[in-house]
Symmetry: C2
Subunit: 394 residues, 2 copies
């Protein structure tokens, strides 16, 4: 183990903490770009409460709404231009992962010279990371991406039909104001997709990290076990605040770096494949992950059965003298769990007929620019292997 | 769950990272107070390597050595005065928990008006927290206290024979440079005490936190399981770098707040009792904990058998239809583990005959200043209960 870790975000967690938004924002700026998505926060009154809290604290609000699912680069640029024109000194994201990711990148684009796509990992001309951003406050309304307390953001370039991500220290939010009561109105399907998303964040690190990270293994298993215990309750009864809080806390720690610290994760292959699919088809990210993850796990388990047998043993209590049998049974159980909470687990469940599988594989590898021509992960996979695993997911 | 969390410390972890001290320090200051303890870092060459790295980077060194185990307020004040006289703009701690705690408080005393004991929880005149400190860099040479990446410090007032602690945001180190190779020369007994210390940090939160924190439960169990797997290897073969690294990483996460976030821990009763004992007898902190913790656990398990049965089940794989039986067997297993790695588990093993037990109980409660007259924890315990549990530890 040889690594660095720093996450400076101040987390404020608890039902009702939305009411502290004004006070918290006042510590960071005077004029906030308030970024939202498709309108649900306006319909359910959350937007009005946020604005009231901000105005009461003397923080002016410049609203930017309409960030789409799988947020587009053009929206990010429009938001940044609005922040500049309105001389905002603070960006507040009120929404799900798309809103948070878009808002974080807007905060950096304000100071970024040139084409913002160059800050993305998939930049064809090489990555030029942003080094400065407006202060960011995240207020998630969905338990899923963990974007509220990390330095990452995923953006779609609608012109090139690519979905890519940026990781930069200046994107750490100053404050993550995490109020699980805001997720009470999330419908069952979106709730289930969020559970799948958070579990997938953890499985990516668990299966693609270096050997010999026992603390991280236990942390990962702990997040998965908690999500599997409380996720179904949140899906079943959206008004169960306790379940909402447990799922949301699990989603925060799933990707704030605590689980992955020191794990030396080789890649997020399931995310990479899913990003290609959702860039083309605009499916919900968590739903796409539910299709890709079990398929990827089956392929990887054949290569590293011991690792997947540990997962099967510790998460599902399975035992077998044959690690591969145990490993494969673990994947079946995981897939059953996803089905039980209402996630799709096949391309056909997403309404996709599989005719573009070769394109998914090819474009996933193209986006990565990896000189080996393989998708980073354990194991690194070739185009043929990606095609094969996606065929099994039809 | 309703809580705030922020830990801004930058962690650099890995065998050999001591060589980066100069480069890292250069980012924080130009003239460092370099705080060390009883001389082992001078004998084994670590001090010379640290100084060489600092001087090469152009950071001047003002050495302060001789911080004692259970570091004294007078030493802290002397160090702070030296830093002032020498115009240091940075404090570097190179040593174990005592050195780190003393150095952190020195960094704050530099800016603190009046009696530094007033920053301590046990201040008889009320707590006056420090709000400013010199930048702090910690370089632990022992895996135990976790002080390298948190905002706490424990100091002994030798005049009043009290041991107390301070928790203040300005005490977060800027950088924790954690090099497990520095722990290769720690003797077996100190290694074992460190393992006990780190496990106790976790059990305090686990047994004294609020109900309904499943992620934190799993994290705590993960740290304990890792320490129980790798601790004996580090005790057995001090040169086992892998074991040293695993134990040290476990010690960092045991008290950097990740395990306790949201757990609403009511108190650290085992630490409070041990602090009284080590303030009077100057025993090693980890050794004192090994005596007090199982005794406290037995007393608490009688009140909350289900909680301790969960510990027994998840950590030791025990099952029983009677939670109290399961709980008590878990404590026996834990005590057996401590004995196996060479920790004392009775007051007599520390050379103490038990004649001062009533004083330990009385002074522990006096130090707490709790208006209920009970030691905070689950359950909160009266003086009579403390006496009874300590008698069982004779």
């Amino acid at each position: 183990m040889d690594f660095e870790f720093q996450n400076p975000t101040r987390l404020i967690f608890g039902a009702g903490v939305l009411s502290r938004l004004g006070e918290v924002a006042r510590g960071e700026g005077r004029r906030a770009l308030l970024v939202t998505g498709g309108g649900s926060v306006k319909r359910n009154g959350v937007f009005a409460r946020a604005v009231a809290s901000l105005e009461e604290a003397g923080v002016a609000v410049v609203a930017f709404d309409g960030v789409e699912p799988n947020p587009r680069l053009s929206s990010v640029i429009r938001g940044a231009r609005l922040a500049q024109a309105q001389q905002c000194d603070l960006v507040i994201a009120l929404g799900g992962g798309s809103v948070m990711d878009a808002a974080k990148v807007m905060a950096a684009v304000v100071f970024y010279d040139g084409d913002p796509w160059e800050m993305m990992v998939h930049s064809p001309t090489g990555i030029r990371l942003p080094t400065r951003a407006l202060p960011i406050i995240t207020v998630p309304t969905l338990a899923a991406t963990g974007s509220e307390m990390n330095k990452g953001a995923v953006i779609t370039n609608e012109q090139t039909v690519e979905k890519s991500f940026v990781l930069a220290d200046c994107l750490y939010p100053r404050v993550a104001l995490v109020d699980p009561a805001l997720t009470l109105t999330v419908p069952p399907d979106q709730t289930a997709f969020g559970v799948c998303d958070l579990i997938t964040h953890v499985t990516e690190g668990y299966f693609n990290g270096v050997d010999g990270t026992p603390v991280q293994d236990r942390f990962a298993e702990g997040v998965i076990l908690t999500a599997m215990e409380w996720g179904p309750k949140a899906v079943e009864d959206g008004q169960d605040l306790e379940a909402r809080a447990q799922v949301q806390w699990a989603s925060v720690v799933a990707l704030n770096g605590w689980v992955q610290a020191g794990a030396g994760v080789a890649g997020f292959p399931v995310h990479m494949i899913e990003h290609t699919i959702s860039a083309i088809h605009d499916v919900a990210h968590g739903a796409g992950l539910a299709v890709v993850n079990p398929a990827w796990m089956r392929a990887a388990a054949r290569v590293r059965p011991d690792r997947f047998a540990q997962f099967a043993r510790r998460v599902f209590g399975l035992e077998s003298s044959d690690p591969l049998v145990c490993a494969m049974e673990g994947v079946v159980r995981f897939e059953d769990f996803l089905t039980r909470i209402g996630c799709p687990t096949r391309l056909s469940h997403l309404g996709l007929d599989g005719t573009l599988i070769e394109r998914y594989a090819r474009e996933t590898l193209q986006a990565i620019h990896d000189e080996t021509g393989r998708l980073p992960g354990r194991p690194a996979m070739s185009e043929a292997e990606l095609i094969e695993l996606l065929r099994e997911a039809q």
